[in-house]
Point group: C2
Chain length 305, copies 2
Amino acid sequence: MKSVKVNSSATVANIVCGFDILGFALNCPCDELTVEVSEEPGVQIINEDDFDLPTEAEKNVSGAALLALLEEATDIKGLKLTSKKNIMPGSGIGSSAASAAGVVVAANHLLGNRFTKQDLVRFAMNGEKVACGVKHADNIAPCIYGGVTLIRSVFPLDIISIDAPPLHVTVVHPQIEVRTSDARQILKQQVLLKDAIKQWGNIAGLVAGFINHDYDLIGRSLEDVIIEPVRSILIPGFDEIKKASKEAGALGGGISGSGPSIFMLSKDAATAFAVEAAMKSIYDKMGVAYHTHVTTINKEGVKIV
Amino acid sequence: MKSVKVNSSATVANIVCGFDILGFALNCPCDELTVEVSEEPGVQIINEDDFDLPTEAEKNVSGAALLALLEEATDIKGLKLTSKKNIMPGSGIGSSAASAAGVVVAANHLLGNRFTKQDLVRFAMNGEKVACGVKHADNIAPCIYGGVTLIRSVFPLDIISIDAPPLHVTVVHPQIEVRTSDARQILKQQVLLKDAIKQWGNIAGLVAGFINHDYDLIGRSLEDVIIEPVRSILIPGFDEIKKASKEAGALGGGISGSGPSIFMLSKDAATAFAVEAAMKSIYDKMGVAYHTHVTTINKEGVKIV
């Protein structure tokens, strides 16, 4: 095998009450990434999109992930990446994770799948370090494992796939910039114990709701009393979008990752499209530019094309 | 039917990382409670044990629970309770909950099961208010529902039964007093966000481990970084008991309720007895008097005899 192409999907991290621990993968949008073995040492990067991302491997999210993999694949001289990103950087739906996770899955396939999924998460987290300064697995893990993914612990890595019923996802991406570092900084370092208890009651309910395919319980548990009240201030129209989405039938939802995208979960496709219409109507009235996606949860993770 | 007798079991609340939200019922010890319809208004109480509990209904845990039920069973004049408690008050294994939950289940059976389990929890919480000043469902809910029980919310009540694999429980009750109110007061009102995140990662793992019957995940998730470090100071030999129990093969465990009892979960009976021996050896060396129980999770809740 000389070259492997993958579709690496967008992901939603910080599922409402599951801040820093729960995420899921989407079926669209996807980045298209092709990795080839190369005789040239290191990682060469060709970008086939208009995002003007760095081509120097150490400064590129995919490059840093592949360099980490190459350190442990000592029989391989170099890798060449051709990257066509469709997930807009800074959207809050795991654009950097799709790049970092996609390329290591592709490279692993090229090398006869010698690494475990957990190894791949470890490599890909180097890409997140380039993107936001912190090795986190919030988006990487669901991107690689697919489905709903619990990151119980990052050091040491402990990733658990959580079964879930069919869910339809509506995402709206208002065209504003929320920097991950800013979204981190406005969080309080201390929280009230009573709020933390409420939050972990909801997380327990959400996990039980997912595994038991209990849509009502999922809906009741999609409540965040700690992060959302602080971060939603950075997102125009957040409260209105949430209210209108629930009125349109959404089970619930919240900020995707650190924003600015907002996601909503629905039981069926018709509701997910009604939620999209409700979101559009709010942002049209407010004069906020946006993109929307209506999709489902991607259960497979990164797809070899 | 003139009289109903029940066995109402001990319960473990605050399952390690599941402070205030997760508990389970034990198969022993049990209180023996008999409720009869009476022509005398209100609730009469006869105690057949040596705990010297109040017989005035308003000041008695069972009495307060039955009075709450009587308010909604307007066709019934009065009830008579004969109570033989085997669960020592103040042990941390839900003695007051067994009294309050047991009598309302018995009364409901006597009255043709007209109330839902949720109604019964609501009535029984009045008993907890007498016992510790707060209406909480931490022990009441698992006592009535049986098995592992999630209390996602108290107001409004949202109780979810969590499936779990067979588990053997070892409980050691050092003969010291820890008052629930003291155990509450020493908790900090604020916690670090990073600790809260670790805690809710563990809760998510614990719930997934229970439902998926994944003993390893249950073991890894039985970690409490918020409550245990503070409260365990009140319990002599806590760290030694925990260490010795894990060395004897326990999956993990911690403080039962607000203490002083300590519980440990094991995969099989032999391990649970080895854990008991390890616990005994620690307290024997320290010269601490104690009781132990080796039992399993009670999946049925309060049992009609």
